[in-house]
Amino acid sequence: MGKIERSVHRRIWVDKLFKAIIILLSLGSIVPMFLILFLITKNGISVVNWEFLSQLSKPVGEIGGGISNAIFGTLWLILLSFIFSVPLGIFAGIFLSEYRGGKLAYLTRLSIEILQGIPSIVIGIIAYVWVVLPMGSFSALSGGVALGIMMLPVIVMATEETLKLVPDSLREGSLALGVSYPRTILKVILPAGLSGILSGILLGIARVAGETAPLLFTAFGSPFMNQNILKPINSLPLTIFNYATSPYPEWHTLAWGASFVLITFVLGLNLITKLVTKKWKVQF
């Protein structure tokens, strides 16, 4: 074998090795996800049945019982946080994409970035001080406020990033028809960015659905089916936390079941997000 031939041979071999390494490493990065899914499904799926989803928890020692109040509570909390964060977040996002250079935009963007970095437990304390203390009670409302604060940055950023991608020519086309600025924003620019904003909202929901820390001293948890937003309310993560840290093995099983329900919900949201982005994407 000549010198050149040997060197070419070596290069081909190095190429193959390199490719093998990146494939292996990317496989490695999806392993944890599958392990988690496997473990939770294995331990959780056997618990999940209609009774589990539709009944309240039973006292220690009694067999069965469900997490209906936690599922209801989680949906309630998501609705509340949605109300607190989505309108505010979308309008802030519109502002950021419309007035990119201004001082207020800079300040807003900075605050949103910092807000996103604040640990969730701290946001829980803030909601405790702002809502729980003045109102004198743990409540679904305070939990909604805490989760809303957590969701806000996700929605602001998704809205801003999406609207930035809407071409200026659409705005010009609308204004040139004698359409006012607010109508142009609401009826032309926003619909063009709808898929991005929707997926931002869904990701925001997926993010807060699994939050435990901010709920510990706001929503607090409750063994009852509570429909009053001024009273403590249960949620899936709180249920998991309380059951998993209890000394009773049958409660541990319930925690696995609740984990399975929660992760199915979050996974479903993520899949729906992908679908929404794909289906509703607007071609410019």
Partner: protein, 252 residues
């Protein structure tokens, strides 16, 4: 000229420190097609954007002088009213991607919240699409989104959208610069027919196109109106040396 529908008098425009246009005087007769030509960066696009106040989207934009539409100063009228009377079609087709073809044509009404009866809407849509020579091609797909249309068809849809508002003046900002030769020919033919019902001002940096389609031509160079007049006269006997040099391809 008493028949002028639009008059530009002693008009100047600037963005911040940059003066783009100075001392422009131009009259446009009703139902004629005027081509505004000149090399890139001469200010011709700025001029027509000033005519429906679209230049105001740029911060620091300032104007001096007057633009009169039917002897009404457009700078003393609400910009929204001005833009409904003076329609505009842009360089790149920009149909609204979230709307059907039908809704695109009457977007000016829908977006403005102007309620029309179903028959009125149907009639406006058909009329406008016929005027824009697009009706035959899309009449069976009115309620589909316009994204499957070709570039030339999309541009005709944008023309239909502007015509649906029954504007007095239609501004075309290099409407064929993003199109292939066949679509360009189609649009040129369409534009020559349209001038029977609307005054058209078309910006172009394509000299041959100006010669083909326009009744009057204005030549702008470095922000100044060098010369204007009937197209045939301009192309056969330009008065200004710079016009002649531009037309013969010495610069631009």
């Amino acid at each position: 000229m008493e028949s002028s529908v639009l008059k530009i008098e002693n008009f100047g425009a600037s963005f911040g420190e940059h003066t783009i246009l100075k001392d422009i005087n131009l009259y446009f007769s009703r139902n004629t097609l005027t081509a505004i030509m000149g090399p890139s960066g001469c200010g011709k696009t700025t001029l027509i954007r000033c005519i429906n106040r679209m230049h105001e989207l740029v911060p620091n934009a300032r104007v001096s002088g007057k633009i009169l539409l039917d002897n009404q100063d457009i700078y003393n009228t609400d910009a929204i009213i001005v833009r409904r009377q003076i329609g505009m079609v842009f360089q790149r087709p920009n149909p609204f991607p979230t709307m059907s073809i039908y809704d695109n044509v009457i977007a000016g009404y829908k977006l403005n919240g102007i309620k029309l009866r179903k028959e009125e809407m149907d009639r406006t849509v058909e009329e406008s699409l016929r005027k824009a020579a697009l009706w035959e091609e899309v009449k069976d797909a009115l309620h589909r989104r316009g994204s499957f249309l070709s570039g030339g068809q999309q541009q005709r849809l944008c023309i239909a959208r502007a015509l649906a508002m029954h504007p007095e003046v239609l501004l075309l900002d290099e409407p064929t610069s993003a199109l292939d030769p066949k679509s360009t020919a189609h649009i040129e033919e369409l534009v020559s027919q349209l001038k029977n019902g609307v005054t058209i001002i078309q910006v172009t940096h394509n000299i041959a196109q100006a010669a083909r389609v326009s009744d009057f031509t204005a030549f702008i160079y470095l922000g100044e109106l060098v010369e204007s007049g009937p197209t045939a006269r301009m192309f056969t006997g330009p008065k200004d040396k710079r016009t002649e040099e531009y037309l013969t391809g010495k610069f631009g």
